[in-house]
Symmetry: C2
Subunit: 482 residues, 2 copies
C-alpha cells in the first residue's frame, strides 16, 4: 500500500493502529462470514482496500481489511452485527471526498461503501421533501428532480453522497441562504453499533417530540451510527437568478463588502471570497482573465424584481468599498461558467504545483471578525515555503486555506501543520470554530478541547461510549484520544 | 395544595410520586443546605411551591418541596450538586407557560426558578447574535434591542423565557420564515446532572466540530441539563411589513390556500389558520367583527416592492380558493390590533366557558396532509360535550386544538383524552409528529414509542441514563416510564 510520509500525529496514530488491530485470525473469520452474507460484495482486493483508505487531502492513507457493498439498511445492520461480534472497526464510506482523514481505517477493519445504496426512495413534491438512500449523490438527486421544479441546495463543491454530507454536517457556497445539512436534514435512518435500526424523526417540518436524534447523527462522522437513508428539504427553483464577479483593491475591502451585505439583511444566495492567489490559479486552470485581485462572487435568487433590487444594493455596497469591474452573468451559460470557475478552485490550486497535495483547512468565525482573521493569516503565511490560497463562504464567516505541499517533505508538512495551528488558535480567540464544514476526522480532534472545553468533550465521549461501548464505529475520529 | 381531579394517567403518576419521593429527613437536610447557600432565595412557602407546580393547561399540579432562585450559572451548579448528593429531583422553571405538565414536580424535590437570571449578557449587533441568561423573556430581549434595528423572531405567543423556549424547542407564528428554537439557538450554557458546566458551541454561525450538543439540549425539557444561558440569532427588522385577514367558505379552502402559498415558495412570514369557532371567540373577547368563518391571518415582510409582490400573489391564491373580505392592515396600529387578536385566541377561548381550562394539544404533519387532518378532526369532534377550537401555524403543517373542559368532570377529562388520542393516532398515520412545538412533558410521553419506534426511544433512554444516572433531572417527563 502506498503510504505518504507521516506527520508526528500520524505516527502516533499508526502506533495506536498496531496496538488495537484485530488479530489476523479473527479478521479472517469475520471476512469469511461477511463473504457468506454478501458474496462478491465483500472484497479484500488490494486496490479496493487502498482506494477506500484515502480521502482528498494530505492525510496518510490507511486501508481497511475488507470492503463491503451493502444494498439495504438490513444488510448494513447484518454487517454491523458481525463486526460487533468480532469487535472489528467499521468505517462508512460515501464518495471519499472528505478532507480530514475521515475514511482512513486507522485500526483496520471493515469499510462499508454505501455507493450501491443509491435509490431515490421517495420524492414528496407537495411537501418539499425527498428520502434517498445514503449513497445517492447531490447531483444525482438534482438530476432526478429536474422535472419537478424543485432542487436540493446544499452544495459542498464535490459531488458527495447525501449520507456523507449528513455525516460531516457539510454545507458549502449557498449555506448562507439555505443553511447547512444541520438545517436541511429532516430525518435519518441509522444503524447503531449493536445493529439496531433507528428512524430519527417523522417527515413533519418541526417537532418537539423528544431528543433531537437527527441532529445528534448529523455531524457525527460515522462514530455513533451508520446513516443508511436521508430525508432532506427541497426548495422551489427560483424564478430568477443572477450572478456577478467583482474585484477589490485589497482583502479588507472585499470582506467588508460581504459583511455589509449580510448585516443589511440582503437575502443573497451566495457570496464567495477568493484571494488574489486563488484568482491566479483559477485564471490559469480555466483559461479566464479575471482581474487577479481579491474577488467576490455573488449570486442572487428570487423574483425578477427582487433579484434586481438585491443586485443593485450589493453593487452599491461594493462600489462604496472600492469594488471595480463588476461583471454580470445572467444567462444560464454565463452563470455556470462563473460558478464552475469557483468550484474548480481546489483543482485549480492543485494545478499550480503538479504533484502536490492540498492541505485544505477551514475555520469559521462570527462575521465581524472575519476580515481580521483573513488579514492575520495573510501576514502569518507570507513567508511560507509553499503556495497558500485563501477563500471562503464569507457570508457565514467560513474561511478556507489551502497549503500546496509536497507530502514527502517533512519540513513542508511540519510547517503546514504549524500554520494550521496558528489559524485555529486565532480562530478560537475570535470566538470561532476549528471547522465550519469539513469536519473533525482525525485531523482536528486535537483542537476540540481548546474549542469546547473539557466538560463538553467529556460529555461527547460519554455519549460515544454509551452508544458504542466497543468503540467499533470509525475509531480514532472526532474525539481526541485523551 | 389545590389539586385538580386526576386523569387515570395522573393517578398512575401520583402513585409513582409516593413511591419515589425522597424521605422527609433527607429533604429537610437538603433544604437546610440550600438555605445555607442561597439564604432567602430558597423558599418553602406554600404559595411559592404551589405556583411552581403549575403550568397553563389541564395537567394536575404537583408542587416541589422548595423553590430556589439562583443568580448565576455557578449557583445553579451548586444547587444541582447538592440535589445530586441527596438524589433529589430538580425541575427547571422559566415563566410557567408550558402546556404539557413540564413544570409539575411529580416526585417532589427542588424547583429552580431562573427568573432572576435575567441579564442580557451581550448583544453583538454586527454578528446578529445575542447572549442572555435563561430567565430573559422574548419581550424583554426585544425591548432591549429596540434601538439596534434588530429583533429576535421566535414568538410562541406567551412571553416565555428564552431558557424555557430552548428547553421545549418552542416556535410559534413566524417559524415558517425564521425557524424554531432548533434553528435559532447558536449556543447554550448548561449545568449537567453532576454540576459540571458545558458551553455547547462557539458563536460561529456554522460548525462541524464534534457532536451537536446544542441541539441535544434544545427540546430536552430539563431532563438532560439545566440551561442557564442562551445565544440566539437576531435579524434585521424588515423595511416593510404588511398583514391581512381573509375569510374562506370552508376549512378546506383556507388550508388549501396556505398549502399553495408554501408550495409556491412565497417567503411569507406568518400564515395562521383559525376555524369559525376560534373566530367567534376572538370577536367576543376583543370586540371585533371579523366574519365568523374559517380564516387565515397573513403577514408579509421584506422590501416595499417585495411585500407588495408577495401580498398580491397570496391574494390571488386566496381568491382562487373562494377567499373573501381580504382586509389589509398596513399601519403598525392596525397590524398590532390584528395580531393581538390572533395572540389572544388562547384567552379568548377560555372566556367562552368561564372556569374551564383548555386542554391544548398540537400536532404537526407534512403540509400536504394538513387539510385532511383538520377535516378528520372536525368530524371526530362534532359531538364533543365541550367547546372545541382548531387553529394552527399552517405554513409548517402545525395544527392546534383546544378542548374547553371542566377539569373536575371526569367524563369530560376522559373524552378530551380520547379525542387527543384520536388526533395523535391520525397524525402519526399521516407521517406527522405528536407535538410540533408544545413538547412532551408528562402529557405526551405515552405517544413517543408509537411515533419513533422502540429502538429510537430506547436510544433516547440510553442517552438520558448516561447523562443523568440518578434520574434527578425533571423525572417523569419526555421519556415513557417503560
Amino acid at each position: 500500500m502506498a503510504r505518504n510520509e507521516n506527520t508526528p500525529e500520524d505516527n502516533a496514530m499508526a502506533q495506536q493502529v498496531q496496538r488495537r488491530r484485530l488479530p489476523d485470525d479473527r479478521t479472517a473469520s469475520l471476512i469469511a462470514e461477511l463473504k457468506d452474507l454478501l458474496g462478491e460484495r465483500c472484497t479484500t482486493s488490494a486496490s479496493e482496500r487502498e482506494h477506500h483508505g484515502r480521502g482528498e487531502s494530505y492525510h496518510a492513507d490507511a486501508a481497511p481489511d475488507a470492503v463491503c457493498y451493502p444494498l439495504s439498511t438490513e444488510e448494513v445492520s447484518a454487517i454491523v452485527r458481525l463486526c460487533g461480534k468480532h469487535g472489528a472497526p467499521i468505517v462508512a464510506f460515501g464518495t471519499g471526498t472528505s478532507l480530514e482523514g475521515h475514511v482512513a481505517a486507522l485500526e483496520g477493519g471493515i469499510t462499508i461503501d454505501l455507493k450501491r445504496m443509491n435509490a431515490i426512495v421517495e420524492v414528496n413534491a407537495e411537501d418539499l421533501d425527498a428520502t434517498v438512500q445514503a449513497g445517492v449523490t447531490r447531483k444525482q438527486l438534482n438530476a432526478y428532480l429536474r422535472d419537478t421544479g424543485l432542487f436540493f441546495p446544499v452544495d459542498p463543491g464535490a459531488d458527495a453522497s447525501l449520507g456523507g454530507m449528513a455525516a460531516t454536517r457539510a454545507s458549502g457556497t449557498n449555506a448562507v441562504r439555505y443553511g447547512t445539512m444541520r438545517e436541511n436534514v429532516i430525518a435519518l435512518t441509522v444503524v447503531l453499533a449493536d445493529g439496531k435500526v433507528v428512524k430519527t424523526a417523522s417527515r413533519a417540518r418541526k417537532s418537539s417530540a423528544g431528543y433531537d436524534l437527527t441532529r445528534l447523527f448529523v455531524g457525527s462522522e460515522g462514530t455513533l451510527g451508520i446513516i443508511t437513508e436521508v430525508t432532506v428539504k427541497l426548495y422551489g427553483i427560483p424564478e430568477a437568478m443572477s450572478a456577478a464577479v467583482c474585484a477589490f483593491p485589497d482583502v479588507g475591502a472585499a470582506v467588508q463588502t460581504a459583511i455589509e451585505t449580510i448585516q443589511s439583511g440582503i437575502p443573497i444566495s451566495r457570496v464567495e471570497f477568493l484571494d488574489d492567489r486563488s484568482m491566479v490559479a483559477v485564471n490559469r486552470y480555466a483559461k479566464l482573465d479575471y482581474p487577479e485581485k481579491p474577488t467576490l462572487f455573488f449570486e442572487f435568487v428570487g423574483t425578477e424584481a427582487g433579484v434586481a433590487e438585491q443586485a443593485e444594493r450589493v453593487r452599491e455596497l461594493a462600489l462604496g468599498n472600492g469594488g471595480e469591474n463588476f461583471q454580470w452573468a445572467t444567462t444560464p451559460e454565463e452563470r455556470s461558467r462563473l460558478w464552475q470557475a469557483r468550484h474548480d478552485v481546489h483543482y485549480a490550486c492543485l494545478a499550480m504545483r503538479p504533484g502536490a497535495k492540498s492541505w485544505s483547512t477551514d475555520a469559521c468565525v462570527p462575521i465581524s471578525r472575519l476580515g481580521e482573521l483573513i488579514l492575520y493569516m495573510r501576514e502569518q503565511t507570507k513567508d511560507a515555503p509553499f503556495y497558500v490560497t485563501s477563500l471562503g463562504h464569507v457570508g457565514d464567516g467560513n474561511f478556507h486555506m489551502g497549503f500546496l505541499i509536497d507530502v514527502n517533505d517533512p519540513a513542508e508538512l511540519a510547517e503546514a501543520e504549524r500554520l494550521n495551528g496558528v489559524l485555529l488558535q486565532r480562530t478560537l480567540e475570535l470566538h470561532g470554530t476549528c471547522t465550519g464544514e469539513h469536519g473533525v476526522g482525525s485531523g482536528k480532534s486535537k483542537y476540540l478541547r481548546a474549542e469546547h472545553g473539557d466538560a463538553a468533550v467529556d460529555l461527547m465521549r460519554l455519549i460515544k461510549t454509551a452508544m458504542d461501548p466497543q468503540n467499533i464505529l470509525n475509531p480514532g475520529k472526532v474525539l481526541p484520544a485523551n
